[in-house]
């Protein structure tokens, strides 16, 4: 009994992650009542991105150009290559502002049960880069999960074969967390990889 345009829009909004029927309703009525111009702008940005964003030919991240802005930036450190699973991982690492090298985005992780092997995550393309570019260190920033670790080990072997150093991001207790709420595997890792703060003299 409500407007078909509204019903369709409520349904369509549910493609957004974390948006259920109630929040979709709330969004539609909010947009119609208070933010029509922004809604139109959102519609055009959405259509443009969905139609034009493909992958960077060099690092495989999302980009609307053949080579993304980051790969095109000559001021980054050519000797460093950071490997991440997804473009959003690359984005959050960039937001830390600590890394100055280039990236390679796997667009997934090794997962034989799902039919995702080395080819799907672009290992051949990665090996080509390791051969051609003056890379001295590969930083493995895949997720600290079973599949992320498997992928990291696989790539570490490949680096070893071509004699390039390979590091893995540190695992331990996240900043601001409380030990009480951390899982025991994280705590075990934090203990195992503990760092020396003061050494006793003999």
């Amino acid at each position: 009994m409500i407007s078909p345009a509204i019903t369709r829009l409520i349904e369509a909004l549910r493609c957004l992650p974390g948006v259920g029927p109630k929040s979709a309703q709330r969004m539609v009525f909010y947009l119609l009542q208070h933010a029509r111009e922004q809604a139109k702008l959102l519609a055009s940005s959405l259509d443009y991105a969905a139609s034009n964003v493909t992958h960077c030919n060099r690092c495989r991240t999302f980009s609307e150009r053949d080579i993304c802005l980051l790969c095109n930036n000559p001021n980054r450190d050519q000797s460093l290559l950071c490997i991440v699973e997804t473009p959003i991982d690359m984005l959050v690492l960039e937001q830390t502002g600590t890394y100055r090298g280039y990236y390679f985005v796997l667009m997934g992780k090794l997962s034989p049960l799902d039919g995702i092997g080395p080819e799907e995550i672009g290992i051949n393309q990665l090996l080509e880069r390791l051969e051609k570019e003056p890379i001295k260190e590969v930083v493995l920033a895949t997720n600290p999960t079973v599949e992320g670790d498997t992928t990291a080990h696989y790539i570490a072997e490949k680096c070893k074969a071509v004699n390039i150093s390979c590091t893995r991001i540190a695992r331990g207790v996240p900043l601001g967390s409380e030990l009480e709420y951390l899982d025991s595997r994280t705590l075990t890792q934090a203990f195992t990889h503990r760092a020396l703060l003061a050494e006793a003299c003999d």
Copy 2:
């Protein structure tokens, strides 16, 4: 350093209520990676609704036609008119499936400090309907807030003047709630309007 199309889309998504920078990021990468077709559909539904949905000439709810589907339905009870503040209130009442009459949507509530008087909430249009249509009962379903109550009382006076019955939706403890967590004003109302379950014989 990320694609301008992606930056624009992250920014545009923030017009949605409840969507902050982190969830906007997550939405964009999810759509690009897993749901491009749905994203395009969402873009077109959004643009269509923002451009074509106006107000029903009879009940003032959102509608892309001059008269909305509900007002056009001859099978509803002509003797009942329910008054709500917003189209979403009308929608949630419809979803209960208990009401069979027509609606009038104020598109707001009386709020003199914000410059919202009787004209802005369509009182003249409402009075016209009360005169012309065979309405026997007006159900006031404005929110149980100070402004919603003020609006309800104002309309109740108007109904009295034209000799039409006027009721207000019940206030009390919401179903499934726990008394422990309810505010004292709600509990006071629930006590004041308590209903008789068994009467003692003399």
